[in-house]
Symmetry: C2
């Protein structure tokens, strides 16, 4: 959403700092100075009720006195005064404000009430708010700086940083400077009373100076809107997310395996994947990735050439390739012969190419050019431990034009500190990515490959979901109470509406009825206890299989009901359900649980009673594409073995994919459904379909 | 092995550099200068056939002219001249030499021949050699420096670095300097014609200046000796290993699941674990761990207190704790009340403790003292994003005495670069570990906890292995050919000798014999094809279960033999084996494969045909302790569910542990056995034992 109401934040005609201070120890002084020093070319105004001057400018006593133009207010007055200040701003025609002040929602209920009041005022006057309790924002290209970050300011660069945490901004901008990383834009979002990370995504993706975006996320409030905006923004610029609060997330209380296994983090993982967002494991990784994404072209594939002057680091790099899902490129004969002509006899010409410690800068350049010209190479890394006879700086100088002339990504690893300082400076001045260790370089090449693949997927046209009979499903649900499990008949009816094969399951209230039904279904049959109160039937002896005669059915009925009355005297027993036994096949679990933020989350994996122990499961959010369903299969052992393994007969993989797609559509169409679990779904041999054997649906 | 022959390397009375040069561009010049500048207090001599002087010292024309004392030669003459140079050294009474020169084994067969000649000369004269093709060694405390590393030299410190790679030494010592890390000792081992990493372990562990050792390993030549030395050295000093060449290792061609799953890396993992060596995933981690191990006391447990002035990094740290197997300490009431007294009202007193951005250095110090005094806290980390109103340096100054007064490890995380530079310098000057990011600090606290646990295990007295009947086993093996699988009878006999229950398995050559045997064993029986040529019997329909009548046995015999003659016309079929069907239980796989370096490697995990797909397996080297066997169970789902899970009945876990121990003893006692695989081992309910159902043994 390109929202004009947010425009004053990033291209203000005039900025007023309300709470500017003449005392150097105060944040209001730092903020006033930062804005002045930022080189901001619009109108700059300061307000302080005491009046006076600051940096040779007047300190206006009230907002009213501030001359036009002014369309952005930065507020740093005590929290209780903020609502009135906002009203003054509104009266003065200011439509955008950053509330830097703390002491709102984070400080308890009084603060929360103040915050609500601010929002009401903003809504009334059509005003947008960033904060409260934030550092503010800066843009190094406009330029403008409304923060109270300690000097020096961040260097201009290509990475935008949108952060839920304000406290880390000073630390991270300081650290980035030390790493030679620049920023295009920094926004500290604070309590997000109004503007959230989602509001800023499209806007930041459209910023011509920004080439990669880092999101530091504590929690997302409106998952559906976030997904919509993030998918659009990802098409424009790569987004790296750092999501904290994993451990605190915990597991939701859940009645199904799917629910127990899903948890909040699986939903975030699935959401980021679907939106094309690259999730980093830790802070350093996020920033290192972002620089590579901002500076490097994208590779066409995962085949990497490694150029080094020493064996050890080459092997380390090759090890890391495997861990990151990249491969050593197989070099062409021409490449090898070309290198042989310039290298000493003991150089290793196979990838990793080891040109030996004696190699001059020229040899690095020639070999790198040959490697990049090889059509079997998608990306390259150059490892430069300090060469004994040359300077690392000379090597950097020699390879920079080669890297700039190529449309393939190249990452350079000058290893060391002082001995490689000059080379690092040369590289950074030319926007070429450097790391101290091969492992980081490989991780960056991996993320470039992933970004290229993600972008291709994002550009695919959405496919049509399988048709399901929504009216029929809604009708079946209409008689069910919310908060409960639906009965077996309704569950079967919902499966039919979704087009998922299900063995007909009929209820018998007594032993004789069970025999009659079994004969109608045809032997052998399976018998399951019918009780809304019993979730895991096999745990209490509530399942009997392969009953092949009327006698067997009668005995099973008596034993089962007796056993369960004993084990679960509290449970209301409706009788037993009977199903014709399906032919053998591979059994998997498929399920859906509705995530409060991101909507239906589909699960696939190894089922049975061991599902929670084995954890061989994968998740994806709806709407589910065929590709996503197939990726779920590919990432689990349960899915891989559908193709057959040893004496395990292959199963109908297509039918499993279809069932996943239909399940996803059913959950999307019927928001009343909170969880569905088919455990097992039995996949018969190829072409024979997949059958839901046991279905549980919770509203 | 404290070997006096290695003494001259680390406490030489006099050093001679053979190949010292007056040309500043030559390594022989750098080496001569490094030795001079190192502050070495023994006799220093230079040799160069051209004569002259260097640094105001004579350049002797031959080794013979070098005055005594001289007991260490550093050789940097061209490779072809090295053997004669060694002879001159020997003639002059020098018993230790570092051959820095390259052009030996790494350069082809001629070089290899030269290298062999050097070793012969050394053996003949009782001389020890480091190298060839190495950087040399240095000791910052002795001090001595025989390397040609570019200046400045490493700072004195507490970490020893023993490296198979010479090329990374310049890069890493330079990098360490930038990180404020010192070295006690550096040895580049080169081609290891004589002295290996194993020779130096005990010696380095005994060095009073060394508090942690880093091993950079490409491959270990004598696994058994390495294990013996490493276990001893680990008791003295923590050892961190960086093992490269993971991807190249590949999988050995193997006839069993155990062999296919084991691979070289599992053996290295198991070897490091058994020797108490801490294996790092990457170079940075290895060095960061080593500094923490060198500078911090060890914690008593895994409960961590986090002290921060900002929420975000606290949450990041808490997330990382979970990933690293650490826990947030639960703070005592007294600790919380103590902190409440000094902190503002909105501070978060629960762990992570957030003392807010306004907190003065004193508050950091007081809270840290309270946290360290809490008996529920085993270690602590202090996160210091630049405080807005104070300097990070002032915070460091305030907490340093608190950290020094405690016997619990504390790691400090000053976040940023310039803004925290002063704090970093204070901390390092006081040997307190600092990182820029919480994630690294948690990783270091994790390794400290692991070191403490490892040390406790290393100190345990070795227990008695289960008694097995070695003579009986040897007798059974005596008639078997090497390189083949033993027949079923022998396999059963070996199981009996080891004391592992095995269902008696009898061979029937025709259908009638099968019926007779089945009646003798008692129905139901299982039938398996008997053929040395068929490894995976169930893959070809060579297994029939639950045969409960003579008719069933006859039909199964006819069908099975017909099927297999068709499927595997090349296989020689001896008949079928019959076994009484055991009662149901949990089935696991246990196996042993003999690693060429480290000896018998025991495997435990989820068995069946899916074993290679699920990869739910764990490995350990023999001799296997009960604790190690139990850890294998604890680290796999197959092992965990032996305790029972849902409607899976608990099984005889003790019997599985016992079978693992017996299997390990059998493999240790009989070196002819190359692989044993019991798949499945059926564990009956507790107290009922575990039975080997299918046993395959390869010689």
């Amino acid at each position: 959403m390109t929202d004009n109401s947010l425009k004053p934040f990033f291209s203000p005609k005039g900025v007023v700092i309300i709470g500017a201070s003449t005392e150097p120890a105060k944040l209001g002084y730092v903020m006033a100075r930062n804005l002045l020093r930022s080189g901001y070319t619009g109108a700059m105004h300061y307000v302080n009720p005491k009046g006076g001057t600051l940096f040779n400018r007047p300190l206006h006593k009230t907002v009213k006195q501030v001359p036009n133009p002014v369309d952005l207010a930065v507020i740093l007055v005590p929290a209780p005064v903020v609502p009135d200040t906002l009203k003054e701003c509104a009266a003065h025609g200011i439509k955008a404000a950053i509330i830097a002040t703390g002491g709102f929602r984070e400080a308890g209920s009084e603060g929360a009430a103040l915050e609500d009041e601010c929002l009401k005022i903003a809504h009334k006057h059509g005003m947008r708010l960033i904060g409260p309790n934030c550092i503010g924002l800066l843009d190094t290209h406009l330029p403008v700086d409304t923060t109270f970050l300690p000097p020096p300011p961040p260097a201009p660069g290509e990475v935008a940083f949108l952060s839920h945490s304000g406290a880390i901004c000073a630390a991270l901008t300081d650290w980035m400077r030390g790493q030679g990383m620049g920023l295009s834009r920094l926004v500290s979002l604070g309590n997000q009373v109004d503007v959230t990370e989602t509001d800023l995504l499209t806007l930041t993706a459209a910023d011509p100076h920004t080439r990669a975006i880092i999101l530091y996320i504590e929690a997302i409030r409106d998952g559906q809107r976030f997904m919509a905006e993030a998918q659009k923004a990802s098409l424009e610029k790569p987004i790296v997310a750092l999501k904290v609060g994993r451990s605190a997330a915990g597991r939701k209380a859940a009645a199904s395996h799917t629910g127990a296994l899903a948890g909040t983090e699986s939903a975030y993982d699935a959401a980021f994947r679907k939106a094309g967002i690259l999730r980093a494991d830790n802070t350093e990784e996020a920033f290192h990735w972002a620089r590579a994404l901002a500076w490097c072209p994208l590779p066409k594939g995962r085949r990497v050439a490694i150029l080094t002057n020493a064996g050890g680091p080459g092997v380390t790099a090759a090890d890391a390739l495997e861990t990151n899902g990249l491969e050593l490129a197989a070099l062409s004969e021409a490449t090898i012969e070309g290198m042989r002509a310039v290298l000493p006899p003991f150089a290793s010409l196979l990838n990793p190419v080891d040109i030996l410690a004696s190699a001059p800068p020229d040899a690095y350049a020639t070999c790198l050019r040959l490697l990049l010209d090889d059509s079997g190479v998608d990306s390259a890394m150059v490892i430069v431990p300090p060469p004994p006879a040359f300077s690392a700086g000379a090597v950097a100088k020699a390879i920079i034009p080669v890297i700039q002339a190529s449309d393939k990504p190249v990452i350079v690893v000058p290893m060391g500190d002082r001995l490689v300082q000059e080379s690092i400076e040369f590289l950074r001045a030319n926007q070429i990515v450097d790391y101290r260790f091969a492992e980081r370089a490989v991780s960056a090449l991996g993320i470039l490959a992933r970004r290229a693949e993600t972008l291709a997927v994002l550009k695919e046209r959405p496919e049509k979901s399988p048709t399901i009979k929504i009216t029929r499903a809604e009708k079946a649900l209409s008689k069910c109470e919310s908060g409960t499990f639906v009965d077996q008949d309704t569950a079967s009816e919902l499966m039919k509406a979704a087009g998922i094969h299900t063995a007909e399951s009929l209820l018998a209230k007594n032993a004789n009825q069970a025999v009659t039904i079994a004969e109608q279904l045809d032997y052998p049959v399976a018998m399951k206890i019918a009780s809304m109160d019993i979730s895991h039937k096999s745990d209490v002896g509530g399942v009997a299989l392969n009953l092949d005669s009327s006698a067997a059915v009668q005995v099973a009925f008596q034993n089962m009901t007796a056993r369960i009355k004993h084990a679960r005297p509290d449970a209301k027993i409706d009788g037993v359900t009977l199903q014709h036994m399906l032919p053998p096949g591979q059994e998997v679990i498929v399920g859906v649980v509705r995530d409060p933020q991101f909507g239906p989350l589909v699960m696939f994996g190894s089922g049975g009673v061991e599902v929670e122990g084995l954890k061989d499961v994968a998740f994806a959010l709806t709407p589910l594409s065929r590709r996503e369903a197939e990726e779920m299969l590919d990432s689990t052992w349960a899915g891989k073995k559908l193709a057959g393994y040893r004496n395990i007969v292959a199963a109908d993989r297509e039918a499993v994919v279809d069932a996943l797609l239909r399940l996803a559509s059913l959950a999307e169409a019927l928001p009343r459904i909170s969880e569905i679990e088919i455990n097992p779904l039995r996949a018969l041999p190829p072409g024979k379909g997949a059958w839901a054997v046991d279905v549980r649906i919770k509203l």
